[in-house]
Symmetry: C2
Subunit: 219 residues, 2 copies
């Protein structure tokens, strides 16, 4: 009895093309930047991080991904993956053969729309990250991050106020452009202001309004 809730409804169309399941152990890569696009993936269970590296070894986490989301879509244009995708915990995905998708896309026009939308969503998410990285202070970044997670958990039918982080402070820091000590300090600040309760990876949002206000007022 599975009722996957997709990031976007039209992804249900892709689900019908899912050929097989694949399980990924924690810290394993689903694909790497530069490798050819063979499959698109729908997350059935678990979570992932995507990251890009530059020529000097710097790493930037570009996103965290959970249930119902499509992975690999930004490779559609070039046929090569643009980022590394690593499981944050033991996870499970549907494999969707891209060759199959390319074949079917000529017969089913709505399938193309579906792919295009997936890529646009990726661009839109990236724009939001750029805004965050370019113009927010540490407190605002972390508040934005928590509110985003909260919404996504809620959309999956989980609690919007109590959830467990799947990533380390360092990974949060990489995503938000902060050092892990700063992330930790901000969590402590939030606790002291009674906005959240933190116990390691366990988060309870106690004052949603306050978090939203933090994102709102800027200098």
């Amino acid at each position: 009895m599975e009722t996957t809730i997709f990031e976007s409804e039209e992804l249900r169309q892709l689900e019908t093309l899912a050929q097989q399941r694949r399980t990924i152990k924690r810290y394993q890569h689903l694909f790497r930047a530069g490798s050819p696009l063979q499959y698109l993936y729908l997350i059935r269970a678990g979570s992932f991080k995507s990251c890009v590296l530059d020529s000097n070894g710097r790493e930037q986490i570009t996103g965290f991904h959970m249930n119902g989301e499509l992975l690999g879509s930004c490779a559609i244009g070039t046929g090569k993956h643009l980022c590394d995708m690593m499981a944050l915990e033991d996870s499970s995905v549907y494999e969707i053969s891209f060759a199959e998708v390319e074949r079917l896309v000529r017969e089913i026009p709505t399938l193309q729309r579906c792919l295009n939308r997936a890529m646009s969503r990726e661009v839109e998410r990236n724009y939001k990250s750029m805004l965050l990285l370019g113009s927010m202070r540490a407190e605002e970044r972390l508040a934005t991050f928590l509110l985003d997670l909260s919404q996504r958990f809620a959309k999956q039918g989980y609690s919007a106020t109590e959830f467990n982080l799947r990533m380390t402070r360092e990974e949060i820091g990489s995503y938000l452009g902060l050092k892990f000590e700063t992330v930790s300090r901000m969590f402590s600040n939030f606790r002291e202001s009674h906005s959240i309760e933190v116990k390691n990876r366990a988060i309870e949002i106690k004052d949603l309004n306050r978090l939203q206000q933090m994102v709102g007022h800027y200098a």
Copy 2:
């Protein structure tokens, strides 16, 4: 006698669909975020900036665009533009009716590839920006910016070492996640280290190696 050099060769295919030219005056918008996608645009002359705004009025410039580049591609998925596009100087573009493109895309499979690639390029550029915003210090950001501009001018057949900036210090700052005073100071630093010559918007790169080294070594 026009020989447009495109950002990517396959854009030449889109050029054949160009129906009319349009001129845009400085500081005019080509389109705005949220407006429906009616045309894609190929830049014939001039330059543009794209920016996103958040609900609190913060602005982030997501890119600068010049000759031969395609504008509006990230709206392909949703049918609505995701960013504002403003001319930095009096400019000229080809209009390409998106309705026409959508009609032709079923007959010409390579046209779809062309659009997909355009979107992938956008994602790739954004990843680079996120890396820059998330993990570089001011000096590295500005050096990266200058090297990127240099390459793009060179690709258009212009000098890689002497060019005029089309944007203000404040716009550079918005793009790089810095305040304009910091941008100005960094330019002065670069001049003092004889890496570049700056006179207002006029840039001369005098020591390309040094700029590249700046990007290289991190902490």
